[in-house]
Symmetry: C2
Subunit: 270 residues, 2 copies
């Protein structure tokens, strides 16, 4: 096991959506090695209860700690919304979530201070984004909308279909009515729907993907803790791990990662 | 623990869909007490691998056996498709699935011997329905179609929406092209979509819900094993158990069961 600065960063998600965060980590932190865990045997987290999502997040963190990671990135909005406070108490390492970075990115670009947030049922019900935005801008108006069908639509690859357009129009209606000028894509699956969502929203509305901001926060956190990796002497090999059979992960994961995945390990938890 | 003929029947599903089978068991077997387990912490099973679905099915069966059931009804098409042969070896009790009853019901009513089967990705990929139908009618033509978005649509209660209609038309297109005269609803969620599907298919096409036939097979199986319950001396109280928080189960479950649920217990597995 490699320890200290050369140890890998642990990244987890309920499934494959968090690979959009891995893509940004690779871009911004090219010296860092990554172990990615996708809980594909228990995906999705969106409709599940806070207690269950906390339990899953703790089990995955235990496993990542056992693999010797130096920090954990919770690359799942639902897990961040329900489990981040618990993980920050429980895990003896820096833990980075996706909600605060997404909120910060949105509040940096909004002109009207009227912003929309879309996410899973669990993320929206938790109120995590509304709290994070109000911590930055107490008078901002936030319109939060659960979009529970988006994850299955993305998982099916229905990224440019009439049915998806119809569903998206219905979900985004309250945001359009409130004339938001910025929408946080509060689920790591949603960046793949950005082209379709961009057609639907009024011109000028900005769609915020928290992946880039999360990678930037990971970079800052590693620097603060003196945990940055030295330039590697050999090409970095990331590890991709799933709790269910790897076929679907391999097939669909590349769409999220933006590059090929050679190999997926299977690890059973719980 | 009650044993012998007065012991309850164990029924399980990945979530709440199997309550459509409980509804039929109540109707056909009014003397039988039921323990229903919905694996809501790990739902859905449809996109998951055979090995994972087998593991979940074994864990639930172990739990039901520990509760003293006298027989197990696998009220989930995906679990039946992937795990029934294993469970019949593993469980020292009668085990009834939903696939053979559904296939039998379809072959009893088809005139053309050209039948459609719709189900989850896992159920369709397993080929279980095609095998079950060909065991009855080797020359029947079977058009099997995975409909992975139907479960999320039903879970969201989108039973009569334009988006659902659009998606259903696309899924059913190959069945219409083959001019099937009968369609097996090969997922316990789908009976709730029957009104919408009935609008889409050609007049005269029959939609087969395996719940009634599964209850009839359960009745036959109990009789064969001399396990029928005597008339109860007090009103029967069924138990409903879920692996995730009960709120969603309570809220949505009644749509499937067709009557009110008073109480849902939570049991964590795995």
């Amino acid at each position: 096991m490699v320890t200290g600065n050369s140890a890998p960063i642990g990244v987890f998600d309920s499934g494959i959506g968090g690979l959009t965060v891995v893509h940004e980590l690779e871009r911004q932190l090219p010296h860092e090695r990554i172990i990615y865990f996708g809980d594909t045997a228990r995906v999705p987290y969106g409709p599940k209860s806070p207690a269950t999502v906390e339990r899953y997040s703790r089990e995955i963190s235990d496993w990542l700690i056992g693999e010797g990671v130096k920090a954990i990135v919770v690359a799942c909005n639902t897990a961040t919304a329900h489990a981040l406070p618990m993980l920050r108490e429980y895990v003896p390492l820096p833990v980075i979530g996706v909600v605060e970075p997404g909120a910060r990115a949105a509040m940096r670009v909004t002109r009207s201070q009227v912003v929309g947030v879309i996410g899973t049922a669990g993320t929206i019900a938790s109120g995590a984004y509304v709290r994070a935005i109000h911590a930055i801008a107490p008078s901002a108006r936030v319109v939060a909308q659960a979009c529970p069908l988006f994850v299955p639509l993305v998982e099916e690859g229905w990224l440019d279909r009439d049915a998806t357009r119809l569903i998206a129009k219905e979900y985004l209606e309250p945001l359009a009515a409130a004339q938001v000028d910025t929408i946080v894509l509060g689920c790591t699956h949603y960046p793949l729907l950005a082209p379709l969502l961009g057609e639907i929203v009024r011109p000028g509305v900005l769609l915020i993907d928290s992946a880039a901001e999360t990678a930037a926060e990971t970079s800052r956190t590693l620097r603060e803790h003196g945990l940055e990796a030295p330039a590697p002497s050999a090409p970095l090999v990331h590890r991709f791990v799933a709790s269910d059979a790897p076929e679907h992960f391999l097939r669909v994961g590349q769409r999220f990662l933006g590059s090929a995945i050679d190999r997926v390990e299977k690890v059973t938890l719980g």
